[in-house]
Symmetry: C2
Subunit: 123 residues, 2 copies
């Protein structure tokens, strides 16, 4: 099982990847067979190629993530964080809580992004 | 599917139940066959009777929940929130992210609390 530090560092690296505009660095945090559900309730995206395309679009829109509270670990293989996404290209701010689940190698196997229609506002 | 408002009001009622010291009110938010995993990675607690006992202990310890950011919904049947738990009886503060999943009746069927050993500090 990955350590608390490994999981929290991966979530911080996810934020840092957006800050650097580096979609490949974000996608590299995921396992080959990972699943991304963003937002929860929409059809999931499966596999590294589709995930890299998803993050290429997200990073390409200039999205930046701002933590609202310290990253949380767990007593298992999951970690979570509350943040806002600033999407300047669309003039939007989205309030999100991501939960990421990890494999033995410390790669993300599942990402679930909790945000609803009411969690989006004009920035 | 419950509305965004229903789910967010249930999470707020969960916080309010702790504030009022009312474990029965907290447990009443859950479906009869609900499962609570607190923290994620520990064996889950199943069923309303066990859940009410769990919250009787938590509320009895004087625990209070302080939101760190607005409650999030989703595009599905889940909502999430980041908060700190103050446990005066134990002199502890715990940083948590809860994810709750709902049934058609707006009752919580699953609660997963994300906090690790490093998310606990002396208060």
């Amino acid at each position: 099982m990955p350590t608390q530090d490994q999981m929290k560092q991966a979530l911080q690296a996810y934020i840092d990847g957006f800050a650097a505009g580096d979609a490949a660095a974000v996608a590299a945090l995921f396992a080959d067979d990972a699943v991304v559900e963003d937002p929860v309730g929409n059809p999931p995206i499966s596999g590294r190629a589709a995930i890299e395309e998803f993050y290429t679009n997200a990073v390409g829109a200039g999205s930046k993530l701002v933590l609202e509270a310290p990253i949380r670990g767990s007593h298992g293989n999951a970690a979570a964080m509350a943040f806002t996404v600033e999407v300047p290209e669309m003039g939007l701010r989205i309030r999100v809580i991501d939960v990421m689940t990890f494999n033995e190698d410390g790669k993300i196997v599942a990402m679930r992004a909790h945000w609803g229609p009411d969690d989006v506002e004009q920035s």
